[in-house]
């Protein structure tokens, strides 16, 4: 499974919606329950899933799914 698919599953888990489809451009405005609480759950789940640690500057700039995937891939490549 690639990063994109794994991220999509995290979204489905956190929002408990098996049919949820996310695109790179998907952002908080597109998903009703995507509030600051969900944002923390998403980021912590990603840290666990990919065994990475997001630093403060990274955390602050994650506005949509594409941002998240690219920061994860950058971390995994490093």
């Amino acid at each position: 499974m690639n990063t994109r698919e794994r991220v999509a599953i995290i979204f489905r888990d956190v929002f408990d919606d098996d049919k949820l489809q996310v695109k790179d451009s998907t952002c908080a405005a597109d998903i009703e329950d995507w509030d600051s609480l969900a944002q923390i759950n998403l980021l912590v789940a990603m840290e666990k899933e990919f065994r990475i640690k997001l630093n403060l500057s990274e955390v602050k700039d994650l506005k949509n799914v594409g941002d998240m995937i690219s920061v994860i891939e950058k971390k995994l490549a490093a």
């Binding site: 888990d13 956190v14 912590v44 997001l54």
Partner: protein, 609 residues
């Protein structure tokens, strides 16, 4: 999917789905819980809800705004007080300590600083105690993430580690001297988790979590076990397999000489220590039972091993046979008069564990594995036996079950049951609630399931409030006999409305069934009602899954059925004026003599109804 099969790492991620499933469970008890945090608590609440639902509690939460707990508590008109929580959790951490000592502060100055630091917290605790009847859970302080003074932080009086220790000592003292106030020891929790992992600075700066979000499942599980304990939902009995659980090897094959137990081998030592752990649970009131596939004689011979810490009389029930284990567990629960949901079953065999899980989902079956060195850790992680207080009754409980066996054998000698009851030389103390027994009364109210007419649960605060309420009639009953002391085993309480006493609580420990104690309580209640000039007693029976044994209780006492409610409940009335003589029993009530043989004025009157 269930919580026990979901790893801590996935709990938050799967929280919504888990919640949806758990909330479908039958018989959830609703509770209002306020979470007052000095840091973010949203995720904590999310995970805590899962553990509480699993424990049969359906919480409604109030959360203070970020670090506004002090204002919430001090303001009389705050939303907190409109919410009227039954449980308040105060979650402050090292991040909320306002000032630390500075280098070269003298011990006196540090002492003053401790007092200054504690003052607002103490004000909060005091105010909560005055305004609410809620149980308050305060966590102590975790150790700091950094030590600029290194190891001196511990030894210098102005050191941060020393300072935190001093603050925590103040919290402990408050807990020892105030009722309804319980400490969650996150000092220990964070150490067990690992301080380096506990303090996640990214999570602090980014989300304002005082500890790593990953540590929240551990924190929440621990908190949930304290809440369960306050509500009387802790487990009561540890049921143990024998071979490769309490000793290494197969007793039926190897004999007492061949099993691994004792200091000669590393494995034997580990089994001995596990036995010691079980014994320490027994000492604080957890019942022990054996459930083993073995010949009984062989099974018992294991406890003759010179290094066996556990002895046969440590067990309240002993089942060694070839019947299926679920059948034996049902029998153990019956013998001990406790529910299946009070049992924890420990067996190294995966087969047996699965069978019990499938057939008796009410029984807790930890995934104990087959490594004796892991048994204690797995048991402790599950927090089955968390207890907010240890009463004198708890410590005597195991002994009581052994005395009960002696009574049973004494019963054989009598053909007439009344003769047997007389021979027990029973003495009771029946009086209004008093502060001395507050903890035990609260415990009994929250634990008793079978002989319980209404199954109303009360917090210590609510019980305490009844002490001074002139409209409440309260009675507790203690019972002793020639074999020993049962302790405080019955509670009756009600409110006076006009000239009627509305009985809201009537319960008794099943340990003393069929002794006539319920009749002695009834006589005392009648006496109290007469003293207050009341004309009528109204009793209420509310059926639950467990209290069918008292469905006809009021009828048997001579009450008349007044009405039925939709939920299957019945309301009964008793006219005090037309009541004749008191009910007959063989218990001498409120006589100070220690030996009733020298006391001929035993209460022996004819039963009227």
């Amino acid at each position: 999917m269930s919580i026990s099969q979901t790893s801590d790492d996935l709990l938050l991620r799967k929280a919504k789905k888990l919640r949806e499933e758990l909330i479908q469970r039958p018989n959830l008890v609703a509770k209002k819980i306020a979470i007052l945090g000095g840091s973010t608590t949203d995720q904590l609440v999310q995970v805590l809800e899962l553990f509480l639902l699993e424990a049969g509690i359906k919480p409604t939460f109030y959360q203070s705004n970020y670090n506004r707990y002090f204002e919430d508590v001090i303001d009389d008109d705050s939303a907190l007080y409109q919410f009227q929580p039954e449980i308040v959790y105060l979650h402050t951490t090292i991040r909320n300590i306002r000032s630390f000592p500075t280098l070269n502060d003298k011990p006196d100055q540090v002492k003053t600083l401790v007092a200054l630091e504690m003052a607002p917290l103490q004000a909060v605790w005091k105010k909560l105690g005055e305004k609410l009847k809620a149980s308050v859970i305060q966590n102590n302080f975790d150790l700091p993430p950094f030590r600029p003074l290194g190891n001196l932080e511990f030894s210098l009086s102005e050191g941060k580690v020393n300072y935190v220790t001093e603050l925590n000592r103040e919290i402990a003292i408050w807990a020892r001297t105030h009722s309804n106030f319980y400490v969650q020891d996150i000092g220990y929790l964070s150490a067990a988790y690992g301080l380096e992992q506990w303090h996640d600075l990214n999570h602090w700066y980014a989300y304002k979590y005082a500890m790593s979000v990953n540590a929240l499942p551990k924190l929440a599980r621990n908190l949930s076990s304290i809440i369960s304990s306050i509500l009387g939902k802790s487990k009561k009995c540890l049921v143990l397999d024998l071979d490769n659980t309490l000793w290494g090897g197969i007793i039926g094959d190897d004999g007492a000489g061949g099993i691994s137990l004792g200091p000669e081998t590393p494995l034997g030592e580990a089994y001995r220590d596990f036995q010691s752990y079980c014994r320490s649970l027994k000492a604080r009131g957890i019942l022990l039972a054996v459930c083993s596939k073995n010949e009984e004689i062989a099974a018992k011979s294991g406890f003759n091993h010179p290094d066996s810490v556990l002895q046969l009389d440590d067990f309240a029930a002993f089942k060694a046979n070839w019947e299926p284990k679920p059948d034996n567990l049902v029998q153990i629960a019956q013998e001990l008069n406790i529910g299946l949901d009070s049992l924890v079953f420990v067996d190294d065999s995966r087969f047996e564990r699965e069978m019990v899980r499938k057939q008796l989902p009410q029984v807790s079956v930890p995934e104990i594995g087959e490594e004796v060195t892991s048994y204690v850790r797995i048991l402790e992680e599950a927090k089955f036996f968390e207890s907010v207080s240890i009463s004198a009754e708890d410590q005597k409980r195991a002994q009581l079950y052994i005395l009960e066996r002696e009574r049973e054998s004494a019963k054989m000698l009598f053909s007439d049951y009344n003769e047997y009851l007389k021979s027990l030389e029973m003495r009771a103390e029946i009086r209004p609630f008093s502060a001395t027994y507050l903890d035990r009364i609260t415990q009994l109210i929250n634990k008793t399931n079978q002989f319980n007419l209404t199954t109303v649960r009360l917090t210590g605060g609510e019980v305490s409030a009844s002490l001074t309420d002139p409209n409440q009639v309260t009675l507790y009953g203690r019972l002793a006999d020639k074999f020993g002391d049962h302790g405080l085993i019955s509670v009756v309480a009600g409110n006076i409305e006009k000239q009627s006493l509305k009985v809201s609580l009537w319960l008794m420990s099943c340990r003393v069934l069929k002794r006539g104690m319920e009749l002695a309580m009834f006589n005392a209640l009648l006496m109290e009602a007469r003293k207050r000039g009341l004309k009528h007693i109204q009793g209420h029976y509310l059926p639950t899954a467990k209290n069918a044994m008292v469905a006809k209780f009021y009828e048997e006492l001579g009450f008349r059925l007044e009405s039925r409610s939709d939920n299957g409940g019945t309301i009964w009335g008793y006219d005090i004026q037309t009541a004749k003589t008191p009910a007959q029993h063989f218990i001498s009530v409120n006589q100070e003599h220690s030996n009733p043989k020298e006391n001929p004025k035993e209460e022996k009157t004819r039963r009227s109804a």
